[in-house]
Symmetry: C2
Subunit: 341 residues, 2 copies
Amino acid sequence: MTAGRTGRKRPTISDVAKRAGVTKGAVSRALNNGTGVSSGTRERIRQAAVELGWSPSYAARALNGKPLGTIGLVVRRPPEILDFDAFFASFLSGIESVLSGEEHATVIRFVPDAHTEAATYERLFNDRFVDGFLVTDLRVDDERPAMLRRLGAPAVVVGAPEGSSDFPTITNDSEDAIRGLVRHLVAGGHRRIAHVQGDPGMLHALQRRWHWEKAARDAGVDPGPVEYGSYTIEGGAQATERILALPERPTAIFYGSDLMAIGGYSVLGDAGLSIPGDMAVAGFDDIALASFTSPPLTTVRSKHRALGSAGARLLLDMLKGQEAPASTTLGGELQIRESAG
Amino acid sequence: MTAGRTGRKRPTISDVAKRAGVTKGAVSRALNNGTGVSSGTRERIRQAAVELGWSPSYAARALNGKPLGTIGLVVRRPPEILDFDAFFASFLSGIESVLSGEEHATVIRFVPDAHTEAATYERLFNDRFVDGFLVTDLRVDDERPAMLRRLGAPAVVVGAPEGSSDFPTITNDSEDAIRGLVRHLVAGGHRRIAHVQGDPGMLHALQRRWHWEKAARDAGVDPGPVEYGSYTIEGGAQATERILALPERPTAIFYGSDLMAIGGYSVLGDAGLSIPGDMAVAGFDDIALASFTSPPLTTVRSKHRALGSAGARLLLDMLKGQEAPASTTLGGELQIRESAG
DNA sequence: CTGAAAGCGCTAACAG
DNA sequence: CTGTTAGCGCTTTCAG
């Protein structure tokens, strides 16, 4: 495949040096800084390198504290979410779309608990196995920003509210879209709008809840009951059951994810309630399925892929030494279909 | 966080050695082989290591040809497929579910072309940046098995037919399910069954086509027309248009992916054709959406996650030096719903 | 069983 | 501008 592979082992920098009639040091300088070498020998060295099909060893470079061209993604969630959840696959897709053009690789690690999570960040970076991190799922009192700061690791936080950490942040701001949704509901005569949300320890879940509350108040109605559950069909179904059991039943439910809303559909159906006639329903994410449910689901589209690509792009820029904006915001988009009246 | 972090830098093996009153060599032996050291000093060394919170440097180990605990996944497809395609996100989910329990990380790289693909495999492994590979999307005349063999890289091929390479293979065998589907169609009176498939350069696409052909012949009907397109909604829509333009129109279409089938739905609908009345439709994958389309889509369920987990498990076993079976087969499963009569 | 020493492939500081 | 020299942190001989 590659030219010059005479022996079994790959060529080292010494081979290149020998062939170019210089020393390792010269090769290193020529090919890294491009400085400290006359353009003549530099060319000779470059030649020798391609003839030998040489490329520097990641390990040796890492041992000298050089960046490897990798970014780390450590995820403290069960790996199944890649399969179920709307977010991660799209997010990853966004990341890869910029990395693939930049000769960078992604190092992914799913971890079960906070302790492993911390240890993983630490090892990955202390050894410069990754050049920096994309941090997602920021939680209330999340210790990662402080730890990463301490490690001196470059990082960008993705999907968290502005100012939630002192790292550059890509924010997913759905405030306007959620406000639009609530207005739509209120205009349709709804006064009691419930909210079903995922893990309240997640900053983005909290944020969406605030937006819903604020929008409700601003529209002159009291925020209805709130239920929590996992971001899955089952989680949504269970939360819906709890809501239906409430003494004062709401007339609309805003779910924190489309999957949860779909779980709601089945419970509402079983209870003989029609959508949106007896209960208006709205989701969040706008997954592919949302336009195929019956009735089609009104939801807030969230730009998962863009979050990934913007995060990756920003991190790459930072790694190149560029100044990073404290925060970049991507807006959500209200998708009105038929489930919310 | 970690105990013993007095200074700014992390402890090295020398620190551990000093604290235990031995030399680096002894520490290395004690903690790796566990041999060549008296159990007394071994314990002392272990103590010192935990007190210092020491863990070996990836880079230094890699430089000595030791495995890092990483497996590589290089994908020659546009990164968008993570978002659209049913396969990759689930597959990755399966991989991660076994890796997360084994302290292994995944190194992912999306590449645009065959040349970059080859170079990526080579660099990643020559430098032992990854311990082995999971290879997917095997193509006709794929050069990767030979190249990986030449590199001496451990690998398991996933989702390809048995015997398609000399690497251990996790096969996704849908022959029975496809046969069941064709029988179902033929029993429903269909004599002309078309097939829409994705990239014919992919071995798995070819394989499914063969299974369909064979099943048709065995059921006593001639295999109908075949159209190719990308594995997307648009790809399916376009292929469907071509089929509808055919002089002898089939009465059933078997699509190589659910997404393609959904693309078919809209074209058929636009043409005023009812499903399954005027045209029976079947898909492949059984994505979440499949049971929500109208009519619900009859399809062949494929075990994407299991493919990932089985592949990862097998590769890990191989890396531990265990003998690997030449081939492991996961069967598909026919999901009869309403779109195919 | 243990210590000493060489070396993995590269970078960076220092002389010349 | 170029060569030489130390290391980076670890593993692995090889003596003792």
